[in-house]
């Protein structure tokens, strides 16, 4: 198993290097120069040239890339031109918001998806199974941003049950009130994300349970006289739940991608909204940092899932 993990990590390194080069080149190709907004607009062309020379912007790209990577390893992602703040600090503030929302959505997704998947598998081919199948078909087909817009329209504006923007209300004071206000702001986006994000879990779990139901060990247990309820609890669930738990890492990709839509619709000040603003203001240190961070998180998510799966399921190990 250590071989699998080592191999996965070794594969990860070149991926990370290529990703960083790609991100760097994309950032270089963006219009504007890094001094936009931070210098006196009356600065002469010669002064700008001088500044660019000092900051090494006339060096060949690989030289610049190397400098950038060295800074990266020192935790220096540069300054945001729009906010005039170090990018690291900016991401720390916004990242916490996104993390809260993502964690909340993930927990809800599992809370909804696990029982549904098991329920459908248990009642395979019956009426209940069809109901769950209709649910997964509907949630899988509709594009998520349409769901968000309609959700905020009905529950946010028309019924006025949930706040429609921000991550915390300005009036909230004290620990308890802040926490409740924070929770109130993520319930609707979290719930929508969870309700429409269970497809993979439900489908996978359903087929796992059906497979397990027809396997030999279940037949043995039944012929020994173990009640069906106990078979489900002690045998089938255990076998089917482990791979599902390992899937958590993969779902990070989906959650992060969806965060851009969610945060835009709900004006939720997380990393997705930060990214959209940065694009509009051509704030390219922020853009580079965020694309790289999202790529890195995707990579870590897949890595964790792969390792977890290889622990749970010996068949996927590499010898």
């Amino acid at each position: 198993m250590w071989k699998t993990i080592l191999r996965r990590i070794l594969i990860m390194i070149p991926e990370l290097i290529i990703l960083s080069i790609l991100v760097f080149l994309l950032a270089k190709a963006m219009p504007g120069d890094p001094f936009t907004g931070s210098i006196n607009p009356r600065a002469s062309q010669a002064q700008i040239h001088h500044l660019m020379q000092i900051h090494g912007l006339y060096d060949p790209w690989y030289q610049q890339y190397w400098n950038w990577v060295v800074h990266l390893f020192h935790g220096d992602l540069g300054m945001s031109y729009e906010y005039q703040e170090p990018v690291v600090d900016l991401i720390k503030q916004r990242g916490a918001n996104t993390l809260w929302l993502a964690l909340f959505t993930m927990v809800l997704t599992y809370l909804i998806g696990l029982p549904l998947g098991i329920y459908a598998g248990r009642h395979e081919g019956k009426f209940q199974d069809t109901l769950v199948r209709v649910y997964t078909y509907v949630t899988m087909s509709i594009p998520f941003f349409v769901v968000l817009v309609i959700g905020i329209w009905i529950f946010g504006y028309a019924l006025n049950w949930f706040p429609t923007s921000g991550s915390i209300s300005a009036q909230a004071s004290g620990l308890g009130e802040t926490l409740i206000s924070r929770l109130g702001h993520i319930i609707l986006p979290g719930l929508l994300g969870a309700l429409f994000g269970t497809v993979n879990i439900v489908q996978y779990l359903r087929s796992e349970v059906i497979d397990a139901k027809h396997s030999d060990y279940v037949r043995t247990a039944r012929s020994k006289g173990v009640p069906m309820k106990d078979i489900y609890r002690h045998h089938i669930f255990r076998n089917s739940l482990l791979p599902i738990a390992a899937f958590a890492g993969y779902s990070i990709t989906g959650l992060l991608g969806g965060s851009i839509f969610t945060e835009m619709v709900f004006s939720y000040p997380g990393m997705g909204l930060l990214f959209l603003n940065a694009i509009n203001y051509r704030d390219y240190t922020v853009i580079t940092a965020l694309v790289l961070l999202y790529g890195f998180l995707n990579l870590m998510g897949t890595l964790l899932s792969d390792i977890a799966l290889s622990i749970v399921d010996p068949r996927v190990r590499v010898e």
Partner: protein
């Protein structure tokens, strides 16, 4: 001796016809035939297929009669005109533009991009999966690394960055950019199917008799997994409708002045619009939901045909 063989091989016309007929009845019907039977057996699927085709044709033909630049002109008189009036069937937006017309042209644009994206990305994904699965070994390993890398790229962000870098782009360039990022799902599916398919005897037999690799891949393996390809293409078409509209919704899809279902829904980003002027965005949202549901329903029915046990259309024997 020679005469014996001639005697044995000479069959009368009538017998030959009868034998061919029998052989045809015995043989497994083609994938297209099975699918058609399934649709005839499942009336809702047939109806949604019919509605979908009529709708796409309507949108394409109707938008030919709409003068787009004139439609996009601002008309003060129609400022947020209410819907269900003879002049504005579905009302008008802040610029007094008719929502009904924008909806038709926007649907045409969005559907055409989704079709283009599906054709390009599926073709690429299918070829990638076939080659990777057929050759296996080092080729497969190298191609899988590229696949892995594509999977970790933050897709949406990268697309937005590329769109902002490119100064002038239109629907075609946008489709090409999107195609770079949406072939992985198909390729993975096709690869795993090709892996198991190329272990089969007919491939080995074909190899032994000296058939070229390309011919085996595209003339022998591909037809055998054609039903899978059709199902996957249909399902990714439903998904791809969400891709361009989602991007346009964020403001990074089709350029300004080109209506799309996404830009119409983006009207809902204004808190005043979303409640006060619901007709500016709700029709587009409802249309996307219906479109995606019906396409994906058709895909589900097609998927059922790939599994003989689940078919509803009976084989006529």
């Amino acid at each position: 001796m020679k005469r014996d063989i001639e005697d044995a091989t000479s069959i009368s016309e009538a017998d030959l016809e009868k034998l061919t007929k029998e052989a045809n009845q015995e043989a497994t019907p083609s994938a297209a035939k099975i699918m058609w039977r399934e649709f005839v057996a499942d009336k809702p699927a047939l109806i949604s297929l019919f509605i979908l085709i009529v709708f796409i044709l309507f949108v394409i033909i109707a938008s030919m009669f709409i003068d787009v630049p004139k439609m996009m002109e601002t008309n003060i008189m129609g400022y947020y005109a209410k819907p269900f009036t003879p002049e504005y069937w579905l009302g008008a937006d802040a610029g007094g533009r008719s929502i009904a017309k924008e909806l038709v042209v926007g649907s045409r644009n969005s559907i055409c991009i989704a079709i283009g994206l599906t054709i390009i990305s599926s073709t690429f994904g299918i070829c990638w999966g076939l080659v990777s699965g057929y050759f296996g070994g080092m080729v497969d390993l190298a191609m899988q690394r590229v696949y892995d890398f594509m999977m970790i790229i933050p897709m949406l962000m990268t697309i937005i960055v590329i769109v902002t870098i490119i100064p002038h782009y239109n629907a075609i360039t946008l489709t090409l950019i999107l195609s770079i990022f949406y072939w992985m799902g198909t390729s993975r599916l096709i690869r795993s199917r090709t892996l198991s398919e190329s272990q089969k005897d007919y491939v080995a037999a074909s190899k032994t008799s000296g058939t070229g690799n390309l011919k085996i891949i595209f003339r022998e393996i591909m037809p055998n997994i054609s039903s899978l390809i059709i199902v996957d293409t249909t399902l990714s078409f439903a998904e791809n409708i969400g891709v361009e509209t989602g991007l346009s919704f964020l403001g990074f899809g089709l350029p300004m002045g080109t209506p799309s279902l996404g830009t119409l829904i983006a009207n809902a980003n204004d808190p005043e619009n979303i409640t006060g002027y619901w007709w500016t965005w709700l029709p587009a949202a409802v249309e996307i939901i219906i479109l995606c549901l019906s396409i994906s329903y058709i895909g589900q029915v097609m998927r059922r045909t790939t599994n003989a046990a689940q078919r509803r259309g009976q084989d006529k024997k």
